[in-house]
C-alpha cells in the first residue's frame, strides 16, 4: 500500500512538473491501405515527458486478428527504435495479437517532431476485422538492456479503434 501511495504521489509531482507532458503522442494519425499495410505518424507536441520511469520506453501497439497472417513486418524511425513482431502471439490468449513498434528510450523523442511507423502483414485476408491502436509506456522490466524481450508495460491508453474492411482504405487522426 505504501508503494502505491508513493507511486501516486510521484505521479502527481510529475504531472505538475510537466504540465501538458504526455507519455503517449498527443497527436497522430492512422492510415490503412485496405489490404495488408497500415502506417501511423506520432507527435508528442511541445512536451514529450510525464514518464513514470527514469528510462522510459514507448510502444505503439496495433492489435488485430492474427488468424490469417503468415508474416509480420514493422518499420519505424523513432529514436532507439525496436520492432516487436517476434513477440506477437507469445502472451496473447485470444484472437487479437499485438503487433508493435516502439522506442527503447522514449525520452529522446523531440518536441513537435513527427515520427513514422508502419505494419505490413502477409498471408490471406478477411472481410472485416476489429483493431485497436494503443500507446503504451514501457520500461526495461525483465532485463536492463535494449531487447524486445526485456520490455514490460507500465500504463496504456487507447488512441483509437475500429474495423479493417478488406478493400477499403481508411485514415483518421487523434
Amino acid at each position: 500500500m505504501k508503494k502505491l501511495v508513493a507511486l501516486v504521489v510521484v505521479a502527481m509531482m510529475l504531472s505538475r512538473t510537466f504540465a501538458g507532458a504526455m507519455y503517449y503522442p498527443t497527436s497522430g494519425d492512422f492510415w490503412y491501405n485496405g489490404q495488408w499495410q497500415a502506417d501511423s505518424y506520432t507527435n508528442w507536441g511541445c512536451c514529450p515527458g510525464g514518464w513514470l520511469t527514469a528510462d522510459p520506453g514507448y510502444e505503439h501497439d496495433f492489435a488485430t486478428n492474427y488468424n490469417y497472417f503468415t508474416s509480420c513486418m514493422t518499420w519505424t524511425d523513432l529514436p532507439y527504435a525496436y520492432d516487436d513482431c517476434p513477440t506477437a502471439g507469445v502472451d496473447e490468449t485470444g484472437n487479437l495479437w499485438v503487433f508493435s513498434y516502439g522506442s527503447f528510450h522514449a525520452q529522446y523523442t523531440v518536441q513537435n517532431t513527427s515520427y513514422y511507423g508502419s505494419w505490413t502483414f502477409g498471408g490471406g485476408s478477411s472481410g472485416s476485422d476489429p483493431y485497436y491502436l494503443q500507446g503504451q509506456e514501457v520500461t526495461h522490466a525483465f532485463c536492463s538492456g535494449d531487447s524486445i524481450w526485456c520490455m514490460g508495460a507500465v500504463r496504456t491508453t487507447t488512441l483509437g479503434s475500429g474495423t479493417l474492411y478488406w478493400g477499403q482504405s481508411q485514415y483518421w487522426t487523434w
Partner: protein, 221 residues
Amino acid sequence: MFGHRTVPLLIAVLALLTLSLAAGRVTAQIGPSDAAISFLAPLGDADVRAFVDDRGVQLTSLHASVLGLTGSYRSYAHISSAALVRDARESTITTFTNSLGSSAQRLRAFTGSNSAAQVAGDAGLQTQLRSLLNIRAKLQRAIALLTQGTAVIYAIDVNATPTQLAALASDWRVRAVAAAGDLAARQDLKPAALEVIWSDSEIDGLDAPGLYTRALAEGGR
C-alpha cells in the same frame, strides 16, 4: 470413383485438413526462436542466406536498419531463407512506396489546416513540417538503397541446435549469439553505429517559406 455424397465429404475433409495444417504452421512458429544472432556490420541478403543455409539452420526473423529506419520481418510459416530475405526486402520496398503516397496525404492535411503565415510565425509548426518532409525524403532514399541491394540486415533469429549455434558463433562476422532463454545476452542486437537520426541537409536548410513551398509541391495540393 466416388459417389455423389462422397465428393462433398472429401472436399470438406480436405478443406479441414488444409486449415488445420495451416494453423499448425502458424502455431509452430509462436514464441521465441532458439537464438538471436547479431552481426558486427549489416550483411547483404545473399550473405545471410549462405550464413544460415551452410549450417542448416532455420531463419525465422530478420532485423534491418537503413537511414535511421529500423525494421523487423517475422515469418510465421516455415519458408526457406531465400524466400524470407526476398520477401522482407520486397515487402519493405512496397511498404515504403505505399507510405510515400500516404506521406503526401499528411502534407496535404498539414497545408490544408495551417497557412504559410501561421507556419512562418510558429517554430513548432516549422519543426513539424520539417519532420514530415524528412520522413518523405528518408522513405525515398531508403527505397533507392534497398532497390540497389544495400546490405541492411544487422541481426537474425534462428532455430538451431546448440552444436549449430556454436558453429555460427565462430563466424568472424558475428558480434553475439544469444540463446532464447538468455535474456541478458539477447540485449542490444543493433550496433550503436546504426542509431542515427537521418535528415536531408537541403530540407534542414530551408526557411519557413521554403518548407511550405516544398510541402505544397510534394503534397500535390
